[in-house]
């Protein structure tokens, strides 16, 4: 009797221990040997499948197997992976988090070893250079353009001659296109869109070691946006019940939006919407657009899989493979040669490639991301608010972050 009851207690405690035990074995996603895990922030099924197909093709030649995981929240999953000692062998590293990761020693600086290291666009290489070292290979890039719903354009009686080339013609077109149900222009209320106007006015955020956020040029850019919004010809997607600009365009809630080549993604949900992309109009300071890019990140302690991952990156960033990605989900290849081919193959996206000549990367240094996040949140007070005050606050925080990044 007694031994039996003791037995039950032992079984009960044992059950806990057992659960703990079986945990140790499983759950190790990175594995060893020739199994690679890629974590991507996917724009949709098309992208996930294309990456998987490319990885499989490489794996077959290299006697390896690759699992592609589409993250639901890439930033969070990456940092949990690193902190959990279980980082993916290869991952999308976004431009805005890159410097933070590089500074914290998360990344393997493999990019200079790549045979095709010299083929990438110079400003993309700059984006992924930390402390003078080209760290990770740009996967592809996108620039922003002005996307116009051509049906609404024609319905408003506008012609090719009216395509906006400067701020005045943009305002005029937006005004003509604004009707009861449709707003002329729409884009997200964030630095990644409004920063373009600041740059077009001739401004910039950082000049060497000095932050120049509160310059009159930047203010002029913000005030232009304020003016369009006050006039009712510009609305943020959230104001017209759209998740992002593309949805606003596709659903006919906005006649023009500022987005990138990923606009192609709306064809699934809105097959009947006709649109055309143009270069962004020039401001008083000339033409400007942003370039957004991810690189292929490899963890600093990549171990066994590090060399395999580098070889996979070489394959994935090859001109041929990049053009296949372009085919599948519309991104622009990160090498100049492939991008030129791309512009020929996809004349409708040629304007995005043309933008690469004068595009700049949004500000990114270690610690800038949280300042930009804060700037984005302050921008929500832009309408009817104090643009100068927002820029002053940005100036102060960005300078503090820059000083810290430079170790001052």
């Amino acid at each position: 009797m007694r031994s039996k009851t003791w037995g039950s207690a032992a079984v009960a405690i044992g059950a806990v221990a057992l659960l703990a035990g079986c945990a140790g074995g499983g759950g190790d996603a990175s594995g060893g040997g020739n199994e690679l895990t890629i974590l991507i922030g996917s724009s949709g099924d098309a992208e996930t499948q294309a990456v998987q197909a490319a990885a499989d093709a490489w794996a077959e030649e290299n006697d390896a197997s690759v699992e592609v995981v589409a993250a639901s929240d890439l930033t969070q999953q990456l940092s949990q992976g690193f902190a959990g000692g279980d980082a993916p062998d290869l991952f999308y590293m976004s431009w805005d988090q890159f410097a933070n990761y590089a500074q914290n020693g998360y990344l393997d600086a493999y990019a200079e070893e790549l045979p095709n290291a010299g083929d990438f666009y110079g400003n993309l290489v700059d984006t992924f250079t930390y402390d003078g070292t080209f760290t990770c290979a740009p996967k592809d890039f996108s620039t922003l353009g002005l996307i116009i719903n051509t049906d609404l354009w024609a319905a408003a009686g506008l012609t090719d001659a009216d395509i906006p080339t400067d701020w005045a013609s943009l305002e005029a077109a937006a005004t003509r296109l604004t009707t009861g149900d449709t707003v002329g222009l729409s884009f997200g209320l964030e630095y990644a869109r409004l920063g373009v106007f600041m740059n077009q006015a001739g401004g910039q955020l950082v000049d060497g070691d000095t932050v120049t956020a509160d310059s009159p040029e930047n203010l002029e850019g913000l005030q232009y946006v304020q003016r369009l919004h006050d006039a009712g010809v510009l609305k943020w997607p959230t104001e017209i019940d759209a998740g992002w600009g593309g949805e606003a365009l596709g659903a006919g809630k906005a006649a023009m939006v500022i987005e990138g080549p990923w606009i192609k993604g709306i064809e699934g949900d809105f097959p009947d919407t006709n649109y055309q992309a143009y270069e962004l109009p020039a401001g008083p300071g000339g033409q400007s657009t942003f370039t957004f890019t991810n690189c292929w990140g490899i963890p600093a302690d990549g171990g066994d899989t590090r060399d395999l991952a580098v070889s996979l990156v070489e394959y994935l960033t090859g001109d041929e493979q990049q053009l296949e990605f372009a085919d599948a989900f519309g991104v622009i290849p990160s090498t100049e040669a492939a991008a030129a081919t791309y512009a020929e193959n996809y004349p409708e996206n040629a304007s995005f490639v043309a933008g690469a000549d004068y595009a700049v990367s949004p500000v990114n240094f270690a610690g800038s991301a949280s300042v930009i996040t804060d700037f984005n949140s302050q921008l929500s007070g832009l309408v009817g608010g104090d643009a100068q005050g927002i820029l002053s606050s940005l100036q102060e925080d960005l300078q503090a972050a820059l000083d810290e990044a430079n170790g001052e």
């Binding site: 009797m1 007694r2 009851t5 003791w6 039950s8 207690a9 009960a12 806990v16 659960l19 703990a20 079986c22 945990a23 140790g24 499983g26 759950g27 996603a29 922030g41 724009s43 949709g44 099924d45 995981v69 589409a70 639901s72 929240d73 969070q76 999953q77 949990q80 992976g81 902190a83 959990g84 000692g85 279980d86 019940d241 759209a242 998740g243 992002w244 593309g246 949805e247 990923w262 993604g265 709306i266 949900d269």
Partner: protein
Amino acid sequence: MTATTATGAPRIRRHHRTYTTGQIVTTAVTYAILILLAVVYIYPFLISVAGSFKTEADATQNPLSLLPQTWSFTAYERLFTSVPLLGWAGNSALITVIVTLSRVFFDSLAGYALSRLHFRGRAIVFAGLIAVMAVPNVVLLIPRFLILKQLGLYDSYAGMIIPILIDAAGIFIMKQFFESIPVSVEEAARIDGAGIFRTFWSIVLPMAVPALITLFILSFQGSWNEFAHFIVSRQSADLNTLTTGVASLTSGQLGEGNQYPLKLAAAVLMSIPVAVIFFIFQRRILSTSEGGEKG
């Protein structure tokens, strides 16, 4: 309950006769307020169910209507095909079953020891328990993540389950309950020669069924609806539970649009098990939340 209704019935009639105009107005107003409030509490759920059967455009344009313009099952089709909803549900079910059984068993075991068994250090253990109950859950997010990682349990079923196998409050509930049972029954059993575990298992526990049911309901709801712990204890998509999976739908991925029908369908489906448990034990939960403490 039945007793009060039986004696209550004639009183109601007596009151009816003495109603003044003022009382009638008050009653009418009370009913109006309560019915309005009931609508406010229930209608959101009804239009969510309706919304899950609408088309995207219909759900956006006619959010209030209870009947879809055209019945669309697209949301549900997608949930069972392109969204791994069944996998999420499987994980939720597995975790809920293990956690609920474990809590019911271990909490009553510990609660019994703390209320009935005399052992050295009992007072200290109990004081520790009280202290532990004071730690808010969200404060534990980062610490739990750190320890799971340290123990190599991060991103595994074990890491998701073991930390929540026992909850201090459950032990407390059971301890309080056992204290309300007369000691004489156990003493009789022990005089008959039953061992301590046997006394607990076959004499005391059957008497504790009301408290066990309370604990069962709380544990079931708590583990099925748990969210924050699963955010910090896992990252693999395979380990998504319904809460974290649906959260990834709700918090939205780039370029996916609002997709209200899909999100509502997921929210509706994930609420079904807790709703079923609620309706099964409805009378217990609602007529009195005293639960086992009546003794």
